[in-house]
């Protein structure tokens, strides 16, 4: 069991983060929580890609000492994905501030100003 978890740990973490994140996004009443959910989902995805590049007994791809190398490509991809995630978070937060200024709340349906 421990062995299994050690080998599958990163994948399980990805599943946990993705499911938790999606659940938060779907069940939100509070926009901030939904944004947190989105961020968890994106972090899970990053976890997933990094796991793809892992090789048992491998080493960092700049040490050429005969051992197998971890695949550096997913890391490079995920650098970009992290940037995309941070940019999304930034846009989301600034939109959230405008919602708060307009409706005085960050709940999904928590205002009396109009009945959307």
């Amino acid at each position: 069991m421990i062995d299994y978890l050690l080998h599958r740990g990163p994948f399980l973490l990805f599943v946990l983060l993705a499911v938790l994140g999606t659940y938060l996004m779907m069940s939100h009443r509070n926009y901030l929580k939904a944004i947190v959910g989105l961020y968890l989902l994106q972090t899970g995805l990053i976890m997933f890609f990094i796991t793809l590049g892992f090789r048992t007994g491998g080493t960092v791809p700049i040490l050429m000492d005969g051992r197998p190398l971890h695949n550096p490509l997913p890391h490079a991809l995920m650098l970009t994905a992290i940037v995309v995630g941070v940019a999304t978070l930034g846009v989301a937060m600034s939109i959230l501030r405008r919602i708060q200024a307009e409706k005085k709340t960050i709940e999904e349906r928590g205002d009396g100003s109009d009945g959307e």
């Binding site: 993705a18 995805l45 997933f48 994905a81 940019a87 999304t88 307009e102 409706k103 959307e116």
Partner: protein
């Protein structure tokens, strides 16, 4: 030089966005002029690309000189050249046409508006020319993030619409990225042409999951029913100028991305064994019917047009899902048609809102006789939406209809007819108001700004040309862009 054309088509708007953002803050009025210049350059480059590709075949451009599959590749093939030309022209015309209203609508924020516009167009061009699956994701997010910001710039209720768009859109992008991850795990490559060669040997279950994730993710982005929920509010609430740019282009380019990944990575043979095409065809048929029905129920003009787009994207999905030559031809034609038609309609809706303060279909009567040229353009676009024969919209529907009949799937043909009947009703509700209603109110407002009228008329002329010249468009441009493996 010509080798770098795909890169230039992306860089022209993308780099200009940075220049506009930097310069526009210091020089008054520079932003709009620079934007026009950049979009003109993009348009010219795209048209040159279309001509070169038609004459001499696809143009491949390798980033940093690294050959694929190691390096990132930009490809301008007949399909991307055709869609890119449509996108660049529609972007130029709609941005030019809405220029006069931006000053009134977003005072003091023009610089930010124009840099977002250029980023959006840059992202869309990137989606069109890239030959790399991960690169597609990055361009998708560049375009989407600018779209979220543009929606949020609108008036009351816009930030909420923008945030739901952001949450749903980012979920779509994440699903797509996860699907790409599965493909990468199975094939070890991200270059589309390379993955296409390796995908046959991939584990079937992995491929299935990847397919579902990618279709779901891009389905959200292209507003395929029932994943369209973000679209009506986003385009209803966004600034009129932004809506007239986004509504014609964003969902269309995402539909292109789906066609590209399905037919150029999976390939027709593999697709026909799986259920992805069935999913797409049924989703498309449901979208055609439900888009029409939901559009009937709308009172807000822009919301109505957004639901009509749901129906039109349904025709694209249905055409792609039928997987024969006629269906794909119809799908590609309809991407172009809906881009142009929605350009006219959203520009006209912007004029109605800003000049006449008309939001709802029921108040359109106020425009009667006051804006004859805009009305003429709306009549042409509306009739094309219904599918009246000599106009562009007819041929897209016709090809998909013949494809459905050729496959013996009469129920899909029936769905297209039902959607068209619904569109007759909602289009004639609009036409009846602007042509025959008793004008109410005493306001003396006239035709919208000259550029907006000109833009509407230009796009309406394109709608007519796409219809009258349809045979040439299909034989010269669309026929070459079909994937090779279709029956």
């Amino acid at each position: 030089m010509i080798d770098h054309l795909p890169v230039l088509m992306f860089l022209a708007p993308f780099l200009s966005a940075l220049i506009v953002a930097a310069l526009g803050l210091y020089v008054r009025g520079a932003a709009s002029r620079l934007t026009l210049a950049a979009l003109t350059a993009t348009g010219v480059l795209s048209l040159v690309g279309l001509e070169r590709v038609a004459a001499a075949g696809a143009i491949h451009s390798h980033m940093g000189g690294w050959p694929p599959p190691i390096g990132i590749e930009f490809v301008l093939d007949p399909l991307s050249a055709f869609v890119a030309a449509v996108v660049a022209v529609v972007a130029l015309v709609t941005v030019a046409g809405s220029m006069a209203s931006v000053r009134g609508e977003l005072p003091g924020r023009e610089t930010f508006y124009y840099s977002c516009v250029l980023l959006l167009v840059g992202g869309l061009m990137g989606i069109l020319v890239t030959g790399d699956l991960f690169n597609l994701f990055v361009h998708l997010e560049v375009a989407s993030l600018s779209a979220y910001a543009l929606v949020a710039a609108g008036g009351r209720g816009a930030p909420r619409a923008a945030l739901s768009y952001l949450l749903i859109g980012s979920l779509g992008a994440s699903l797509y990225l996860l699907g790409v991850g599965f493909l990468y795990a199975g094939t070890g490559s991200l270059n589309m042409a390379d993955v296409a060669g390796l995908i046959g040997g991939m584990d079937g279950r992995l491929r299935f999951v990847a397919g579902i994730l990618i279709v779901g993710g891009l389905g959200i982005k292209m507003a395929l029913f029932p994943l369209h929920v973000w679209m009506p509010s986003a385009y209803e609430r966004s600034p009129a100028a932004a809506a007239s740019l986004m509504a014609p282009l964003v969902t269309k380019v995402c539909a292109y991305a789906l066609l590209r990944v399905l037919y150029w990575v999976w390939g027709g043979d593999l697709l026909r064994e799986g259920i992805l095409l069935e999913l797409l065809a049924w989703g498309g048929a449901a979208a055609v019917v439900m888009g029409g029905v939901l559009a009937l129920l709308q009172t807000d003009l822009r919301r109505l047009f957004a639901y009509s787009s749901v129906g039109q994207m349904g025709i694209v999905a249905l055409g792609a899902g039928l997987a024969n030559k006629a269906g794909m031809t119809g799908a590609i034609l309809h991407i172009a048609n809906d881009a142009v038609v929605k350009g006219v309609l959203f520009l006209a809706a912007g004029t109605a809102l800003l000049r006449f303060s008309v939001r709802n279909v029921a108040d359109l009567g106020r425009l009667r006789g006051r804006a004859p040229w805009t009305a003429a353009a709306v009549v042409v676009a509306g009739l094309s939406l219904v599918g009246v024969p000599p106009l562009g919209g007819f041929f897209g529907k016709w090809y998909v209809l013949t494809a459905a009949v050729a496959e013996g799937r009469w129920y899909f043909a029936a769905a297209i007819v039902a959607g068209s009947l619904a569109s007759i009703v909602y289009v004639f509700r609009i036409l009846q108001q602007i042509l025959f209603a008793q004008p109410a109110g005493e306001d003396q407002a006239r035709e919208g700004p000259a550029v907006a009228v000109l833009a509407c008329l230009t796009l309406a002329a394109v709608v007519v040309l796409l219809g009258i010249g349809n045979e040439r468009v299909v034989s010269l441009l669309v026929a070459q862009s079909l994937p090779g493996t279709l029956p």
